[in-house]
């Protein structure tokens, strides 16, 4: 067992935990922040992405003890009180969400992308979320949500209707 101190979404937590548990389990089971999901447990799918000291990490690949002293942001930190952030709102508007299981990780990867590159190109957006698997959306509407967020969406994705 080891005592760690972490700052999660701006709040300080001190916990005595087994050394072998991952940051993902710490966030979910110790802190009850269930927004972050486990999709593979092997660093392959990105569902568990959080930012650690500003960098996106697969929280299933980080031991909680390695996060001692770190600043962690999860999807819950993206929402101020009861109001979703602009990025979250645009995810809704563009239907960038279907089942929702990849969404938290997707949003955290995009946060990191935008911090380093406020106006990413389509190709850069795709590279930014390459490590986040989504089986529902086909990614297109996620890319459109990010384009809209960065003021680059020329025309919203359209369903052409023929009668």
């Amino acid at each position: 067992m080891k005592t760690i101190k972490v700052f999660v979404n701006g709040e300080r937590y001190t916990r005595n935990i087994p050394e072998h548990i991952t940051l993902l389990r710490f966030i979910r089971d110790e802190l009850g922040l269930i927004g972050t999901k486990e999709g593979c447990g092997a660093g392959e799918c990105g569902a568990c992405t959080v930012t650690m000291n500003g960098r996106a990490v697969n929280s299933c690949m980080v031991l909680a003890v390695e996060a001692d002293g770190a600043r962690i942001e999860t999807v819950e930190g993206e929402t101020a009180s009861t109001k979703p952030s602009k990025l979250q709102e645009l995810f809704e508007e563009h239907h960038a969400v279907q089942c929702g299981f990849c969404t938290a990780g997707m949003i955290m990867s995009i946060k990191e992308l935008l911090k380093n590159n406020p106006k990413p190109s389509v190709e850069e957006i795709k590279q930014g979320i390459e490590g986040n698997l989504c089986r529902c959306t086909g990614y297109q509407q996620i890319v459109e949500a990010v384009l809209d967020y960065t003021g680059q969406l020329e025309s919203p994705g359209e369903l052409k209707i023929v009668r």
Partner: protein
């Protein structure tokens, strides 16, 4: 249910709306089964078979049982209970024999996941490996070992399926239409070929999760990631011989399903663990590896097609033989066989048809429902074959398709007559062709070819699918008016991610004349609080539940009008309503608000009338029948959703590398209830289809061990695999019995994408491929006319079957 309403008369239906479920999803507040923590909850782990087929000589659990913190250990020996959807053929844990790699043979529930895993490691199992049957065509042969020697003693749904005892045939679906011999005799060309698909994994981002609590008096509660709570309850009660009132199934949000969560899977195992652990709740979360190997996949298919074609481009006869690789258990594969049997020629008229579809037991992961329900698999063969037929008679493949599409007056394989409201597949093809500039290269495309040195190819394919479901499938919607005049809707689909809850809410709002914001849909499903639905499968939810929603809205309004008529001293036929109030048509100011009557109206002296307003709508599929077991004739199709894809690819003719440049997908949805949702389904399914076209598939070794059980070895598309350009188009030919004319489109986007890719690659560089997936090395091999690597993903030789 079709109101002949012009689109501009509709206020909510047909409009782009935010989904009712996504605010919680984007903020991380949505809870899934794996997020539930119950007091005293135990954690389960499973011991799995390392063999494809073996006799279990001995299982020793003594060391595991002695481990501190272990609360229950179970093996198959103590569980003489079989479970099954259509054929009751699967023990909860393997007994005496294991039938596939990864099959569960023992399980543990313990205080922590670590203890459970340690206990599983301490369980000793001694096996005697047996020769495994790994190919569905080999399994059909007389000498093949039997996967289920006891097949003759199994219970099964007799009205629909035909297992053949003493063989590996779990079901044989037959279809006979017209006179096949005469049809071939009248043909100018006979075109015959075999096409294959491997098994693939659904890959929901949320793996299967179940929690169960088995309390005294056999009162059982199950929380599970299942698509179909009532079917889980029904099958559970059938196998455990319990009353339905004893079992409660709760399904919160689901992190993707795609058919893989449609049946009953982990629920019985966690339930027996809970029973053995004295009623403490037990949770089992499948690992990704277990998702690949222990839980079901999509069946592999070997499809032989023999087509008689006339010189003028008409199909005169077609003989089709399907060998579906069911794997170790029948699960949904028998019904995939049935449904793809009666649809297996694609959206084309075949005057003389003969089809035999076999569900073959093998010693592999078992097949279940998967988005498209067989149609993705057979469309690979059919749509590749359509191109081959066209080449044979030297006709453009698009034109050849147009000449053979089902049109009003055409008769389907099962004898159903197509009418003008069935949908328009020819129009879908035309729109797809137009969207990709079919048949020629634009100046830009020519310049691109010059720049890259790659060759550009184009193809169009057509598709169809109707819901595969019992002909008597029914559902219910219950609407309750809240005190403030808003409405809460309960129905028992599950929100697997497709957005149906939002579409049904739009339909209800439209009929009530309410804004969508006044409708609250209860998203998690609880068999104790929500009304019955069969399953959330088959793309039937929008049509059936949408219709029930309209009927429930009408019921709610009629009850509200009854009270309002009394208060307003008016006949109900003179009343109308808006989103706030009911009023007298000829004196609109003479009105009563919904708020005043929502839970009962009180006169000024306190005297009350009415009562809480509830609307109930029941809907059952109309006029459908089982198909005849000998001829396949009948009326199984609730609604045909037609579609087409146009695809542009560029291929390097030296290396076989290729890039998909554009996909245009067209579906005749009748009415796009929420265009953004339709587009989401169109693109999401298309990319899933491209995944199976380009790279996905189970690879086994020669002993039947599954080799690629993670995302490194079994890749699915990432954002970088999305084509440069995507176009989504819908045709709206209203469905007479669809809510506001709508029909489902959840699965269709995945169908025939693979063949579009295969045909476009052949169009570009001539590589002729008859197996899926089309890996870039397969294109190279086809170009060099070399046979493919011998594994179970590409057992077929490539490029040499002209």
């Amino acid at each position: 249910m079709l109101d002949e309403l012009k689109s501009d008369a509709l206020k909510v239906v047909g409009k782009e709306k935010k989904r009712v479920d996504t605010l919680d999803k984007v903020t991380g507040r949505t809870y899934y089964t794996g997020d539930i923590r119950l007091p005293g909850m135990l954690h389960a782990k499973v011991k799995r078979s390392p063999h494809a087929r073996a006799r279990i000589i001995r299982i020793d659990t003594s060391k595991a049982e002695k481990l501190d913190g272990v609360r229950a250990v179970v093996t198959g020996e103590e569980l003489d209970i079989r479970v099954g959807l259509y054929v009751v053929d699967k023990y909860i844990l393997a007994r005496k024999v294991v039938r596939h790699f990864g099959e569960a043979v023992a399980a543990v529930a313990a205080d922590t996941i670590e203890i459970a895993q340690k206990a599983v490691d301490l369980i000793e199992v001694e096996y005697e490996p047996l020769p495994a049957v790994l190919d569905p065509v080999v399994a059909y042969g007389k000498k093949a070992p039997l996967v289920h020697p006891e097949l003759g003693s199994y219970e099964y749904v007799k009205a629909v399926f035909t297992p053949v005892p003493g063989t590996n045939i779990a079901n044989h679906t037959k279809l006979r239409k017209g006179e096949i011999k005469k049809g071939f005799a009248e043909s100018d060309f006979i075109v015959e070929r075999e096409y294959t698909n491997p098994s693939v994994q659904h890959v929901p981002m949320e793996t299967h999760v179940s929690i169960a609590r088995w309390l005294a008096g056999d009162q059982i509660t199950i929380w599970t990631s299942a698509q179909s709570p009532f079917t889980v309850r029904n099958l559970f009660c059938y196998s455990f011989k319990l009353s339905h009132k004893n079992v409660r199934v709760i399904v919160p949000n689901i992190g993707g399903a795609f058919g893989g969560k449609a049946g009953i899977h982990l629920e019985p195992l966690v339930a027996v663990l809970s029973k053995k652990a004295g009623g403490r709740p037990v949770r089992l979360v499948a690992t990704r590896e277990e998702e690949f190997s222990m839980l079901p996949c999509r069946s592999a298919l070997t499809y032989r097609i023999k087509t008689g074609v006339t010189k003028d481009g008409k199909i005169a006869a077609q003989k089709m033989t399907m060998f579906w690789d069911s794997g170790a258990y029948a699960d949904y594969a028998v019904n995939v066989t049935r449904a793809s049997g009666y649809s297996g020629a694609g959206p084309y008229e075949i005057p003389n048809a003969w089809l035999d579809a076999y569900t073959m037991y093998t010693n592999k992961s078992f097949g279940t429902a998967y988005r498209g329900f067989g149609h993705v698999e057979f469309s690979w063969g059919i749509e590749r074959h359509m191109d081959l037929c066209a080449q044979t008679i030297k006709m453009d493949p698009y034109e050849f398709r147009r000449r053979n599409t089902l049109k009003p007056g055409s008769i389907t394989l099962t004898g159903e007559e197509i009418n003008r409201n069935t949908g328009n597949v020819t129009r879908c093809l035309d729109e797809a062709a137009k969207a990709i500039g079919y048949g020629k290269l634009s100046a830009k495309e020519k310049a691109r070819q010059k720049r890259t040195g790659m060759k550009i190819g184009k193809a169009v394919v057509a598709l169809h699918k109707a819901p595969a479901m019992p002909p008597f499938t029914g559902t219910v919607v219950i609407l309750r008016m809240n005190e403030d005049g808003t409405v809460t809707a309960n129905f028992s689909l599950t929100e697997v991610g497709a957005g149906t809850y939002t579409s049904v809410a739009q339909i209800i709002a439209e009929r009530l004349k309410f804004p969508l914001e006044k409708i609250k849909v209860s998203i998690d499903t609880d068999t104790e609080h929500d009304p019955y639905d069969w399953q959330t499968v088959a793309s039937k939810g929008l049509l059936l539940t949408g219709n029930a929603g309209i009927l429930a809205a009408e019921d709610l309004l009629s009850k509200a009008y009854e009270v309002a008529g009394q208060i307003l001293r008016a006949k109900t036929c003179d009343l109308d309503n808006d989103d706030e109030k009911i009023f007298v048509r000829h004196h609109p100011k003479h009105s009563i608000t919904f708020r005043q009557i929502a839970v009962g109206y009180a006169y000024s002296d306190g005297n009350g009338i009415g009562g809480p307003l509830v609307g109930v709508g029941r809907y059952i599929a109309q006029g459908l029948t089982n198909i005849d077991k000998e001829t396949g004739q009948g009326n199984p199709a609730l609604a045909w959703t037609y579609g087409a894809h146009g695809l542009i690819v560029e291929v390097d003719s030296n290396t076989g590398e290729y890039n998909v440049l554009k996909v245009a997908s067209v579906f005749d949805v009748g009415r796009a209830v929420n265009p953004r949702s339709v587009r989401g389904q169109a693109i999401g399914g298309m990319i899933q289809g491209l995944g199976t076209a380009m790279c996905e598939g189970y690879i086994y070794d020669k002993e039947g061990r599954l080799l690629n059980i993670n995302f490194t070895d079994n890749k699915i598309p990432t954002a970088l695999d999305v084509p440069e350009e995507i176009e989504s188009i819908v045709v709206e030919t209203p469905q007479i019995d669809g809510p506001y004319g709508a029909r489902g489109v959840g699965e269709h986007s995945m169908i025939a994408v693979c063949a579009a890719l295969g045909n476009a690659i052949q169009n570009a560089v001539g590589a002729d491929i008859s197996h899926m997936p089309i890996r870039q090395e397969d294109v190279w091999r086809a170009l060099k006319n070399k046979s493919s690597i011998d594994n179970f993903i590409t057992r077929c030789s490539v490029g040499c079957r002209r």
